[in-house]
């Protein structure tokens, strides 16, 4: 087939109007969210002392950290769905949760310790944390990749890693309401490991499915 013939086909298809990537990402996440919430409700559930926990600033801080990961990751993943987009100028957004955690760890260190540091670090739920966050992330990751497939990222593995970060951030937000370990040291260690696992899976899958 010669190129003029191909162009004729493409021009004839000009009436087709595709939705925006953001619309499909939203759709993918909305379809996936009930599955993640189902995993949460079946195996985890909100911690029983949630009402009193809300008065603890370190409990609230967990949500600030997880959402400050999820929201910038959503924004960057949409930015990267354009082929000419660069990471430059956007990567600093991902330092937000790191900065928040650093501030939280600093302020906890200045307080009289309620528990020895090793106990705060290891907590009671580290194993749960490391499996529950990735498990709840998987439906969200699938939904995010479904939406981002509609885009045209120049670096599919990077876009997939961002999909991993956003789904881990959302799953960790759910998990934070279950977990009784509120120490920022615990969050910085175990949430980070869980997030790294999901991000690696996102990058590996993304490098295949986000090619266009």
């Amino acid at each position: 087939m010669d190129t003029d013939q191909l162009i004729r086909m493409l021009a004839a298809d000009n009436t087709h109007r595709a939705p925006r990537v953001g619309a499909l990402l939203t759709m993918g996440l909305l379809v996936a969210a009930p599955l993640s919430i189902l995993i949460f409700a079946t195996f985890l559930g909100v911690r029983p002392d949630v009402m009193s926990a809300m008065h603890n600033p370190f409990f609230d801080m967990k949500f600030a950290v997880t959402l400050s990961l999820a929201i910038p990751a959503i924004i960057i993943s949409l930015h990267l769905s354009r082929p000419e987009a660069l990471m430059r100028g956007w990567g600093w957004l991902l330092l937000l949760p790191v900065g928040l955690l650093a501030v939280a760890i600093g302020s906890e260190a200045m307080m009289a310790p309620a528990m020895p540091m090793t106990m705060r670090l290891v907590g009671k739920n580290s194993r749960w944390c490391m499996s529950a966050i990735p498990a709840m992330s998987m439906p969200l990751l699938a939904g995010a990749l479904f939406g981002l497939r509609h885009g045209a990222p120049s670096r599919p593995a990077l876009a997939g890693a961002l999909a991993g970060l956003l789904s881990a951030g959302l799953a960790a937000t759910l998990y934070a309401s279950h977990c009784t370990d509120d120490s920022p040291l615990f969050v910085a260690t175990w949430y980070t490991i869980a997030t790294a696992i999901v991000t690696a899976i996102g990058a590996a899958v993304g490098s295949r499915v986000l090619r266009y």
Binding site: M1, D13, P83, E84
Partner: protein, 181 residues
């Protein structure tokens, strides 16, 4: 260069607003630039230039199917060249070559080195033959017989809507096959 690129941006805006003729002109206008850059990339990778047209057609299909990722407030050329560069790198990688493709390869193409003639390529044709019968019929009718959507609908006793759906699905399937083969 500047004037050419501004013209492309204007044509793409009109195309998005439903002007098929503007879209046709835009695709015809960018093709020689893509062709020159594809030949240069192949030459640098030590590959024969006769595969350039396959790469050009793959770029055009990607441009068509990913048009919605273009921001109509942004200039068209950087978006186009980013897609072209990705597709060229993919194509060279498939041929076992790792090469660095510079975005300037596209931006700095001079009118003198742009081959204007349309050329034939084998890969699209080969993949076209693997599509379901109905899609293949519709695509060939529009491409090879230059039939309109309306005429194609009459020829195959389909509705115009069904022709449009078959056309778009056929183009998407074709692109996926070219990418994954």
């Amino acid at each position: 260069m500047r004037g050419r690129e501004d013209e492309w941006t204007g044509l793409m805006r009109s195309a998005m607003a439903g002007d098929d003729a503007a879209y046709h002109r835009l695709l015809r206008g960018v093709t020689p630039v893509l062709r020159a850059a594809a030949r240069r990339g192949l030459a640098r990778a030590g590959q024969p230039p006769d595969q350039a047209e396959d790469i050009v057609q793959e770029i055009l299909l990607a441009v068509h199917l990913k048009g919605h990722t273009w921001d109509s407030e942004a200039p068209f050329a950087p978006w186009l060249f980013a897609i072209a560069r990705n597709k060229l790198i993919d194509a060279l990688r498939r041929r076992g070559r790792r090469v660095f493709v510079n975005i300037d390869d596209f931006a700095e193409t001079l009118p003198g080195e742009m081959p204007q003639e349309t050329a034939s390529a084998g890969e699209v044709t080969a993949q076209l033959n693997t599509l379901p019968q109905r899609q293949r019929d519709v695509l060939q009718s529009i491409a090879v017989d230059s039939a309109s959507i309306k005429d194609t609908a009459t020829k195959f006793s389909m509705s115009e809507g069904a022709v449009r759906v078959a056309l778009h699905r056929g183009l998407s399937a074709l692109t996926a096959k070219l990418r994954d083969h």
